[in-house]
């Protein structure tokens, strides 16, 4: 009797083992390149917007590379490049990216796209910032009203932008960490959920906000300030400094992100669902055009 149940277990086990990876998207692929695995370190904001779920399969189908997209904060992504733990980066913290080019950790850096940050908050808007045109002023009013504000607190691109705006006010909460200034330490999606639950203000990129809008009880209160521009670059890790990296794959990805077809896909992403694009393709421009 017990043998029968053991045999049954064994059969079930074999059936389970026989279930190979089925739902992976692999239609007729071109022949795989010599080193097909590519580690793409990107930010949680980029991942949460859903753009990569469209772009990465396109790249995989066109080139035969298998991309391991690891969405960590910008800080972690840059640190991965500095240890040679990634092949290519897609990040949005220009001020922190330049040192990596200077140190020789990264080789190529190409402008890909931009979107913008917006200040969101509860519809009740206790600090009365709706419609303000200058982000620094809005932050100053939040500090004065001691209204709840959720910071990413994770060294991400969004976090760095937020901190740079605070330093331009007279009341930077990072000097004394008052109770109304909350650091979530998490990605943008999770931080937006916290802000919605606490009916607090936060700085978010427009893409993640729109992608999660239906689950949130927050409204866009301040937008359009030039300082709120959020610029994305793709950077390849330098094979001269980090010989283990897949430079061919990294360069292929960088070129893919900046070619005309991909750029138009980027420009159309989100239009059907949200009525407006989430990202604006910029591969034909220079950093100077965007004020960097």
């Amino acid at each position: 009797m017990k043998t029968r149940s053991l045999i049954l277990l064994l059969v079930l086990g074999l059936m389970l083992a026989a279930c190979g990876p089925q739902a992976t998207s692999e239609p007729a692929m071109p022949e795989a390149p010599a080193n097909p695995t590519l580690i793409l370190a990107t930010t949680t904001s980029t991942q949460d917007s859903g753009l990569l779920d469209v772009i990465v399969p396109m790249f995989q189908n066109q080139t035969g590379y298998t991309v391991q997209t690891v969405a960590v904060g910008t800080g972690a992504a840059l640190a991965m490049a500095q240890e040679g733990n990634a092949d290519v980066l897609l990040v949005h913290a220009p001020a922190s990216e330049i040192p990596l080019m200077e140190s020789g950790d990264c080789k190529d850096r190409m402008l890909v796209m931009h979107n913008d940050f917006v200040i969101v908050g509860s519809p009740a808007d206790p600090a009365d910032i709706q419609g303000l045109e200058v982000a620094v002023d809005a932050f100053a009013m939040i500090a004065e009203a001691e209204a709840a504000f959720i910071s990413r607190g994770d060294d991400s691109g969004t976090n760095k932008k937020e901190l740079s705006i605070w330093t331009d006010t007279d009341s930077d909460p990072n000097t004394n960490k008052p109770a109304w200034y909350v650091e979530s330490g998490q990605g943008m999606g999770a931080t937006l959920v916290i802000a919605s639950e606490k009916q607090a203000y936060t700085l978010t990129d427009r893409a993640t906000y729109l992608a999660n809008q239906e689950n949130l009880d927050l409204e866009i209160l301040v937008e359009g300030d030039a300082v709120l521009l959020n610029v994305y670059h793709v950077m390849t890790v330098n094979p001269e400094k980090w010989p283990e990296t897949n430079y061919d794959g990294a360069l292929a990805f960088a070129n893919f992100m900046t070619n005309a077809d991909t750029q138009s896909v980027i420009g159309e992403f989100g239009v059907d669902e949200f009525g407006q694009p989430l990202f604006f393709p910029d591969a034909d421009k220079t950093d100077a055009d965007l004020g960097l």
């Binding site: 083992a17 391991q68 733990n85």
Partner: protein, 216 residues
């Protein structure tokens, strides 16, 4: 939604990884636990206390340690195992084999010591004796198996760190739940949670049934 192809793929991957990890930790833990229970050698009780401490290892710490080993910058980086299901299996084996080992040792030590003497007296070889002891202790040993499986099917910290939650490659049920929660899709997260609980329940139901039949 439950029969969505991607959810199916995630579920199958979770089961493959955790079943393999549990199997491997049984392969390591059963003999090791037997050795610790029946053997007499210097350092035995020290090893036993290490194993018992291992039962409480925080999975996320195990994940961090294994990730540091498997990153390109780490000593085992050349194996290119980071962000693969194999990496998750390695981490899960480290998490579950102390559970299986410790509970096996306790199960065997709980047996009547006169049983061993009796088996020796009847002329059993070492292999025969160990087999008889295992059969005698099959109830707590099956419990050890269920505990080992439970410790890995439910963990998320190690899977996140060494697997990276990469879509179609290393996304498992637990990491998918974290992702959906972070996006605010609570309904999907709860549905995945119920799916995970149901599967774990079904597996443990089958194992319990086997265990209780042996109780006759």
């Amino acid at each position: 939604m439950v029969f969505d192809a991607e959810v199916f793929q995630i579920t199958v991957l979770s089961l493959q990884i955790s079943a393999l990890a549990t199997g491997l930790s049984l392969f390591i833990g059963l003999p090791l636990g037997t050795l610790l229970a029946l053997g007499k050698f210097p350092g035995r009780s020290f090893l036993l206390s290490m194993v018992n401490t291992g039962m409480g290892l925080p999975p996320v710490v195990v994940g961090l340690f294994v990730a540091m080993m498997l990153w390109r910058s780490g000593p085992l980086g050349d194996l290119k195992l980071i962000y693969t299901p194999t990496a998750i299996i390695i981490a899960q084996v480290i998490i579950s084999f102390p559970v299986v080992t410790g509970l096996t040792a306790a199960a065997l030590q709980a047996l009547d010591p006169r049983l061993r003497l009796q088996l020796y007296g009847l002329g059993a070889s070492l292999v025969q004796m160990i087999w008889m002891l295992w059969k005698e202790a099959r109830l707590p040993l099956l419990a050890a198996l269920m505990a080992g499986f439970g410790s890995v099917i439910s963990e998320v910290g190690a899977s996140m760190m060494v697997g990276g939650n990469i879509r179609y490659q290393t996304r498992v049920l637990t990491t998918a739940i974290v992702l959906e929660t972070g996006k605010g899709n609570f309904d999907i997260a709860i549905a995945l949670g119920i799916l995970l609980l149901t599967i774990t329940f079904l597996i443990n139901w089958a194992l319990t049934w086997i265990q209780q039949r042996s109780a006759r």
